[in-house]
Symmetry: D2
Subunit: 298 residues, 4 copies
């Protein structure tokens, strides 16, 4: 966690709700009214405004939010956070997540404590945490044909045919392996507790500057997940005649063909998460993974 | 890898052989003669001198080697490297490993190319790599009763009785979990390809500043390995009435009892490995793990 | 292994080559001539005849082979064996596999010893082994819309969208679980060394009358593969609104929708494999999985 | 489950409590009085009588219970069931488990429903299930030096020194592999949900006639658990100069040395478990493993 000695000022605050969900309408309107009363300029993300029917506030696209907002409060789950993060990545607008269902890994304010925790943050009682993102691009015959960002993971997996694919992986230009498998998950520490974990990947604490590479059903039984430094350039070349698919955070996808190269690097932008007092990464882990969390006496 | 712009000077060179092994006698004597002829001062580690019967050279303890040598050449396997590293850790004498059997993860000079590769290094053609080590200490009623270093791992495991143990883990003072298991491996990136890998831990590239925590047969099936930053303080408290054992690199061990606290931090010293030209970490991985290593055409 | 006290008579022998492959032409023609000379009636599978250009022999469909042949010799790999087994399952024609590349799990005669091993079998020196197969059918609104057999596995996995699917599993009518995952592999002992093994499933020796159920990237980290008795009825209901795909041996596939029920039972037919002298299941395992196979002295 | 057409008669009923535990005193006395009133002859296991101070009933050793009782009711956890099963194995006295803490895999009557469920059983409303046991013996220079039974597992693991051991495994005389590892778990279906599960072994439904072999931290990363038929003879020879330890159900243990042979076969006796109405193996699994168990609507 970084210190927040230079307290941020939150003049303009954007509210972003879960995609096409009416459920957040009430919380959204409560929050918007509350913020306006405290003198903040409130922006409602345009899709959210449409889905919830919230009126009386400025409506803004994610792009506008990126350039105008001092803070974006996300009402939803991790999926909404991921989408917001990927779309406004270039602006490093700090994000604050209010959970709308089960506790999320990133939306750490419980719905029932929304206003109280938001006040904490507005008054400077928060910790600020930078999370690394990945940039993914696909090169075909030397041309870039796809580009996107990911806060969780870039996944290459078998496409429609459902057959094992083969690809070659290089790290900083050095040959790592040819992998025959269902695919490969390249994840950030944030993503290490998402899809990668189901595929037997290791948990990376967000403070570790590493990128995880987790194979999906590898043909070679001795294959294992590997974590490389976050400054590495990862280059994955799909072997002909395989077809496959690239997914960014499970939200953007692109079809790739034999010979295509998937380039993955750390993004130059980070996602800034704000955590109100009481946040604990390990507590979240225990809750989500159902680890025993009762410290026994001894 | 770090640049070696400031080329080291190797005036005094120590030779260390595999523990109580006569097998290295010939290679050792070849190498000692060769180095003396080139004008270097040669030290033979005293146990090595005894086991091999090498005569005509200065004999030195590992402590003396630590304080006098500019370079230590290890003839043996990874076990010899680990022991040497742990014992001369405070001095940061660079280590060069000549393998005496199967390729080692750390002894990357094959026996058949010994002189040629040693010359490369002596003439400055090498890469220098720092590997993090761990400091382990056991606190009992506030007193330190054990202290040692580890280049691979500090392992807490069940002792004689062979029953599951329980312990509480804190990271930087924050509660992580109570774990009931056969034990816990706390490993460096170097150790991530050793015992931890057999226990389903993730591979950490040596450039990742992380420490792996890999449970041994955890009772909670949702438990998973986790990698934390290498600046963390890891504190493991054995729950009463369990007894257990602490191992450093599988070489030093100590019995612990309920209430004892095992403290693990990054050592302030690093192990300096020198790699002659042609070294590749990934190549070593493929060789040792029998991954497919033939880059296919595409 | 069952005894073969009642020695089979092999009057009519069918030859089946790898799909659309010319590579087997020479071996095929050598074998056909050899068998004709010994007085056997030789049938060439029609696709094989087309691909290899073999002339001068009776050409037969797989159906005809099923009803007419006393023995089918497959020249190819495990894929060819799987396809043949699935297609002539109802007839229990014994199969003998001649390998055309890397050693197969089922094609245990090496190419270089073809004639000699075939003679062994023709003269009664073989072991006969029955392998269980699965019957899969999909029920939609009470109607059967798909049916196929599998010697390796029936796989339900996420379809085009690439999102996690959810389904409910019942075994003999009893509720097992709702699983959110990338899918589920239901495998025979034969299939336990195929795809299921990459997904961390257990190896089942062919003599164990069990069916393995191996989840693909399960969301619940405590989920584990489970083996049930081979007399069980497995019923998998896809939860709405998920779409998914069913694969039999990775060769036949079918799209399923929310509400569809996938019914899996042991087939009433078995695949009969003939093994010439020297066959060892464990030897095959060691070879294919690169386990250490040198019995050490002790 | 087997039918219980030939209803058993339960004249003499033994009560066995958790080892050296006073906690079961009240339940024990309630149950003993209740059974005496219904006209049954009640035996109290002698250790249980001592620990709980229960008076006024016949006290019997486990051996006597084996030869005299028609039913043994165990008040404790799985550990008490395991110990009872191993000790009275030769007599096939049916066992009924009343749980005294967390739900057990084998003690399926919750404490709060004890009398009502016991009545169900006494009146013939139960299912009877046979569970296979293992016989383990150690041969040293041709002499048998240890013999015991196991309902869960026979474990060979590294002893005091804490170093990897090596052993050779044969199944029905056929060479399987030389394994270098922390050890090997050989488990029954009953034991597949115990220690073996923590070591990544597969769950075997109790109806599957198989024996699981699950390596502990195997050195060869491609090694996997394997299930063989329950009629197999498993022979494990410890390679010199390794020392190791054999455990039966984690309760009996024996030190073995290089050259010793551990022989494991299915016991000729089975454990007979009685389950009152409402018992479900899968329900137990979900409860113990925290799998999602809410059947979703669809």
């Amino acid at each position: 966690m970084e210190s927040n000695a230079h307290r941020r000022e939150f003049r303009t605050i954007a509210l972003i709700g879960k995609y096409q969900s009416r459920d957040v309408a009430e919380a959204l309107s409560t929050l918007a009214d509350f913020l306006r009363e405290r003198g903040h300029t409130v922006l409602i993300e345009q899709g959210t405004a449409g889905a919830t029917g919230t009126a009386g506030y400025q409506v803004a696209s994610l792009d506008e939010i990126g350039s105008r907002a001092d803070l974006a409060i996300v009402l939803g789950g991790d999926g909404t956070m991921l989408n917001t993060a990927r779309r406004i990545a270039g602006h490093e607008v700090p994000l604050l997540g209010v959970n709308q269902g089960r506790l999320g890994f990133m939306t750490d304010i419980p719905r029932g404590h929304m206003l109280e925790k938001v006040v904490d943050v507005l008054e400077g009682r928060y910790e600020e945490e930078g999370r690394l993102m990945l940039d993914a691009e696909v090169l075909r015959c030397g041309e870039r044909v796809f580009r996107n960002a990911a806060l969780n993971d870039v996944v290459l997996n078998k496409g429609d045919l459902g057959r094992m694919i083969e690809f070659q992986v290089r790290v900083d230009g050095e040959y790592l392996y040819n992998l025959r498998s269902d695919g490969l998950i390249v994840c950030t520490p944030t993503g290490s507790t998402a899809y990668a974990l189901s595929a037997n990947g290791p948990i990376l604490h967000p403070s570790v500057p590493g990128i995880g590479m987790v194979p999906l059903c590898p043909h070679a039984l001795s294959n294992r997940p590997i974590t490389v430094g976050d400054g590495c350039v990862i280059e994955i070349t799909l072997v002909r005649p395989h077809d496959a698919r690239v997914h960014c955070d499970g939200q953007a996808r692109f079809d790739v063909h034999g010979g295509d190269i998937l380039h993955i690097t750390r993004s130059q932008h980070r996602v800034i998460l704000l955590h109100p007092p009481g946040y604990s990464y390990f507590h979240m882990l225990r809750e989500k993974l159902h680890w025993s969390d009762a410290p026994k006496k001894h």
